[in-house]
Point group: C2
Chain length 203, copies 2
Amino acid sequence: MGITQRKEREKEAMRQRILDAALQLFRERGYDGVSIRNIAEAIEYSPGTIYLYFKDKSELFFALQFEAAALKRDHLMPVAGIEDPWERLVEFGRRYIDFGMKHPDMYDLLFITRAPMEYIENQECWQLGLATHSFFVETVQACVDKRYFRSTDTETIAYTLWCHAHGLVSLFIRERMRMYPEEKREALAQKSFTMIVKMAESL
Amino acid sequence: MGITQRKEREKEAMRQRILDAALQLFRERGYDGVSIRNIAEAIEYSPGTIYLYFKDKSELFFALQFEAAALKRDHLMPVAGIEDPWERLVEFGRRYIDFGMKHPDMYDLLFITRAPMEYIENQECWQLGLATHSFFVETVQACVDKRYFRSTDTETIAYTLWCHAHGLVSLFIRERMRMYPEEKREALAQKSFTMIVKMAESL
DNA sequence: AAAAATTAATGAACACTGTTTAGTAAAAAT
DNA sequence: ATTTTTACTAAACAGTGTTCATTAATTTTT
C-alpha cells in the first residue's frame, strides 16, 4: 500500500510549495501585501486550492511564523557553543538584534504582527520560540549563578534585556527613528547595545 | 460675508464628526477592523462623503495619530513641572509606560502601526511627537549636565532608555508576554522599570 | 477491464474592502 | 428667476478572504 504514502508525500510537497511561494511573496511585499490569490497565482493553482491545505490565511500565517522561528533559532543557537555565560549572553543579544535587522519581515511576523495569539500557544512555532526564549533565560540564570550580576532576579534581568533588544529592533523596522538621520541609525543602535551591555555589567 | 465663515465652521465640524466616529470605532475594533463604510454608517453619511474631507484612509489615520499624539502629550507633559531632572526623567518614563498600558490602541497607532512614514514627517502629529521626544532628550541632557550619569553621550542614553520603554510596552500590547502568566505581567513590567532606573543610575 | 468511489482542483459566487466618479438636489450668487 | 457653486449620494471598479457545487483525475472495487 505505497500509494497512501506517496499521496501523503505529495500533499506535504504541495503544502511546502504553498509555503515557499507565500514566504517569498511575503518577503517581497510584506504580509498584508500578499493575498491568497497572489499565492495561488504564484504556484499556478486556483485560490480555492490553498484552502485544501490551510484552513485559512491565519493558519498559513502560523506556518510561516514557524519558518521564521526556525530561521531565528538557526541564527541564534550557534552561541550555545560559547562556554562563558556572560560572553554567551552578549553574543546572543548581538545576534538577536542582527536577526531583526537582517530579516525585518521575519522578526515582524514573530514579535510585532497582530495575530490571534490565544490560538497560537499550542502551535509548533510557539514551542520553538519558547525553547529559544528558555535558552536565553537559562543563559541569564547561568550568569546569575556565576555572580556576574549583583541582582539575582533572573526573570526580571532577562525580561529587561529583552525589552531593550526588542524595542531597539522594532523602533528600527517600524521606522520610528526618523528623527535620527538614516546613516546614523545603525550606529546609534550599535552604541545602544554597547551601552546596555555596560549597564548590565553593573547590575 | 458671514456665509463663508459659517460654511467653514460646518466643514470643520463635519471633519471632527468623522474623526470622532473613527476614533471611537477604532478604539472598539482596532484600526484594521474599521472600514470607511463603517465610519460613514456611524455618522449616517455615504462612504463617498469621507473622501470629501480626507484624501484617503491614511490621511484619516494621520489625523487620528495627531489626536493620539495630543493625548500622549497631555499624559506626559505634567512632568515638566518637576524641578530635578533625574526625578523628572524617572517620572517621564513611568508615565510613558503608563500611557502605553492605558491606551494601547493609541500607542499602537503612534509607535507600531505600519504607515507611509516618509509622508508623515511634515505632518502636525509628527511635529507634536517630535516636541515630546525633544523634551525627553532635553531632560536626559539636563541629567548629563548635572552629572547624574558618568556617561555624557546624551543621545545614546536617551535612545537606550526609549528602547527599553518601547520594548516593554510593545511586547505587552502585542501579546508577546504569553510565557508569563497574565497576572504576573504587569508586576514584571513594573520590576523591569525599577531595574532599568537602577541601571541608569549607575550609567 | 469496467464501474464505482474517492480525491484533487477548479472557478464562480458571496460579502466585504478602499476609492472614483457621474449625477443630483440644495444653497448661494448673480 | 436664473445661473453657478457646493455637498452629497449611489453605483461602479478592482481588489480582498472564503465557501461550495461541479468537474476531472485517480484509486478501489467489482
